[in-house]
Amino acid sequence: MTSLTGDRDARDSWARFFNTSDVVGIKVNCSGAPGAMSMPEVVAEIAGNLIAVGVKPANIVVHERNRNQMDDARYEPVVPAGVLVKSAGEYLGYDPRTYVECTFFGEDDTRSNMMRMVTERFTKIINVPNMKDHSASAVTGCLKNIAYGEFNNVARSHYREKTETLSFIGTLAAVEPLRSRTVLSIMDGIRGVWHAGPFSTNKKFRFYPKQLKFGTDPVAMDRLLIDVIDAKRKAEGVPGVFDRSPKNFDPRKWAADAKYQRFQREPGHVEYASRLGLGVYDLAKIQHTEIRL
């Protein structure tokens, strides 16, 4: 955090983003829990830093769409006392007035609504994704964690082998107030998934990037994530994230064999999001500092 902001004291770094009047949502990713997720220890440390700069524990909400996934991740025993751990269903639900309306495959429910926590409660959001492969979008990092993670009715963008994640992820992430309130991203790469994500039911597809990324640009962070997942896949001897060869598409084999895919993957969603003004995609223009510990 000090490297990100240029401060000497981490409290000053956190204070650049958050103050005592903030209500902060920590958007975790638990779809791979308990195998791979935004680790409870990382989330607890984030909450602790917020409290250290004066954010009230009751104004910190670790959240996710589904309660069952958060139960698997077990945040409650680890986060500081008073911090809330809530799913959309048990805390305010979805905002009927804030939605993206479109149809992909003729579905009747054409709206994806933003969580009401985001529209009515939070003043700031910290995005805490995992480093994961995704069967439809190729990678799931910052953009997808707030896009598909803060809206409902999003799985409709995948149907049979086709997926509309190319444009849908960026479109959702660009909706206000989500876009403006997401001020900081911390990507948890302590554990990751290199195939068959976003879930992590097969241990052999888990890996350990052993890194955390701190940033304010979700596109840049996801651009770097593409390289992490792509390199791992190639190291495992399977097609990389950009592969869309029809011969490698097999909905019956993909879950067990990393050579195969379930959907025609759309890693281009990251570049697409850059064109919506969400961040920088060009590696040459991304400011990236690596610190080894």
Binding site: G89, G93, Y94, P96, R97, G106, E107, D108, D109, T110, R111, N113, N152, N153, A155, R156, Y159, R160
Partner: protein, 474 residues
């Protein structure tokens, strides 16, 4: 037949299943089927619904086989389509079914014609039936017609060439119609199906949940200039020729009554009196002369009632709430052998004015009912619609006082009430205090009997606490 559950003729009734009731056609149980092992897994499950059978003319349905958990939905489905139904439920479903029948009875209302976007020319074929089924599955409202119909946006004639795949045919109909014209849209659930009936500035939307669990956060859009919904819904938006609202949790069935009048929640003021006063039932008395009045000139559905309106005034003191009704009449409908020493039950079958008052805004189902007749008969009732076993009913005694007076020359009768605040759960009333209030009157003899409602309930019954207005102390 189980007599306990026999209700009005139009409401579903229970049968023991030993023989098929004469004149009734067997229909399958309403249900959702996930079929996850077939074809591509989808979040849009198959639904067995009978709406298409009813829309094409089936009027008497026998739900002969109702697996556990389906009886209440079957009753609601038949009710929503105005179909006479006989049910053979699983015994374990009887409590839930009885609860549903109670709800259906409470909202029973005169039938209105179906509202539809699509007319399906019905040649009686299986194909036409399946097209209707697929349209209903998508909440594209349709009706069966015999030829081109000018009351709908599109009339379609299913043929083997064009509608060989009824599901794709329904999708093409949707595309041709355009979503913006669809009378009803349902967001947030794939297992809630809707039916819309209406005429003359009012409509009823039937929402049926075919899922196995309550549907949460269902968002509903109804096109057609509707401005108000009863019971009050959450997150209501009225714009661009449509009303939208949310249903936080839809268990099995909900009827939502819509009005194009946009009538806002009614509010009346009660003006403080300097001291307690004797009941006179006389609007010319000093305590009533300057009291503001509200008029009631509509029935429970918001339909205007001919003739001069009923007026209600209110005053309050530290201890009591006073109400005075002025009720013009053509002919009084009085109970023979009146007695005023105790509650008269049922008083509401005769001429009577009524006040439903509640002081709990977080428990709308609990309120108190006060009535007085032209002969000074009275009744006071403790009502708790959420906990019927707990309510005291007529056994409750509020110690309220009444006075009635009939001015036969002017054809107006007056009913006055003095209601102790303490009895209705109010301690130390102050200016600004708000109470929930429904003001009603039953008048005349059948077939000219009318039911006045200050705030329309959207149903035949007065007992819709969600529709109460507000009585504010000043």
């Amino acid at each position: 037949v189980i007599p306990l559950l026999l209700l009005a003729a139009v409401l579903p009734r229970v049968h023991d299943g030993s023989t098929d009731p004469a004149g009734f056609t067997r229909v399958p149980a309403p249900a959702v089927k996930m079929r996850m092992s077939e074809a591509t897994a989808t979040r849009v499950p198959w639904i067995d619904a009978n709406g298409w059978r009813f829309e094409r003319g089936l009027k008497k349905a026998y739900y002969a086989e109702l697996p556990r958990g389906s009886a209440a939905l079957a009753a609601a489905e038949a009710f929503a389509y105005g179909v006479e139904a006989v049910l053979n439920p699983d015994p374990a479903d009887l409590p839930e079914l009885e609860k549903m029948l109670g709800y259906l009875k409470s909202i029973d209302a005169a039938a209105m014609p179906p509202m539809a976007n699509i007319g399906v020319i019905d040649d009686g074929s299986a194909l036409a039936g399946e097209v209707m089924n697929m349209l209903g599955r998508r909440n594209i409202l349709y009706k069966a017609v015999s030829g081109p119909d000018k009351t709908v946006n599109l009339t379609v004639k299913p043929t083997a060439d064009g509608a060989g795949n009824p599901n794709e045919f329904a999708a093409r109909i949707r595309e041709k119609l355009g979503d913006e014209k669809r009378l009803v849209r349902i967001y947030g659930s794939y297992v809630v199906l809707a039916r819309l009936t209406g005429e003359g500035g009012r409509a009823r939307l039937h929402l049926l949940n075919y899922g196995r669990r309550p549907a949460a956060d269902v968002r509903v859009r109804v096109v057609g200039g509707w401005k108000a919904a009863t019971p009050p819904m959450r997150d209501v938006e009225v714009a661009e020729g449509a009303i939208e609202f949310s249903v936080p949790e839809l268990a099995t069935y909900l009827a939502v009554d819509l009005s194009s009048s946009g009538e806002a929640r009614k509010t009346m003021e009660s003006v403080r009196a300097a001291a307690e006063f004797e009941l006179t039932a006389d609007p010319a008395a000093a305590q009533w002369r300057e009291a503001p009045a509200v008029s009631i000139a509509q029935d429970t559905f918001g339909k205007a009632i001919a003739g001069p309106p009923t007026e209600v005034r209110s005053r309050w003191t530290e201890r009591n709430l006073y109400l005075l009704y002025s009720a013009p009449y053509d002919e009084l409908n009085l109970k023979p052998n009146p007695q005023t020493a105790a509650d008269t039950v049922p008083l509401w079958d005769w001429d009577v004015v009524e006040a439903f008052i509640g002081s709990e805004f977080d428990h709308l189902g609990h309120y108190y009912e006060f009535e007085v007749s032209p002969q000074g008969e009275w009744v006071d009732l403790d009502i708790d619609r959420d906990h019927r076993a707990k309510e005291l009913g007529a056994a409750w005694n509020s110690q309220f006082a009444v006075r009635a007076r009939v001015d036969r020359e002017r054809h107006v009768w007056y009913g006055e009430m003095r209601i102790p605040f303490e009895a209705i759960g109010v301690k130390g009333p102050k200016a600004g205090l708000e109470l929930r209030a429904g003001l009603y009157r039953c008048a005349g003899r059948v077939p000219n009997r009318v039911y006045y409602a200050w705030s329309a309930t959207g149903q035949r019954t007065f007992h819709v606490p969600e529709a109460f207005g507000v009585l504010r102390l000043r």
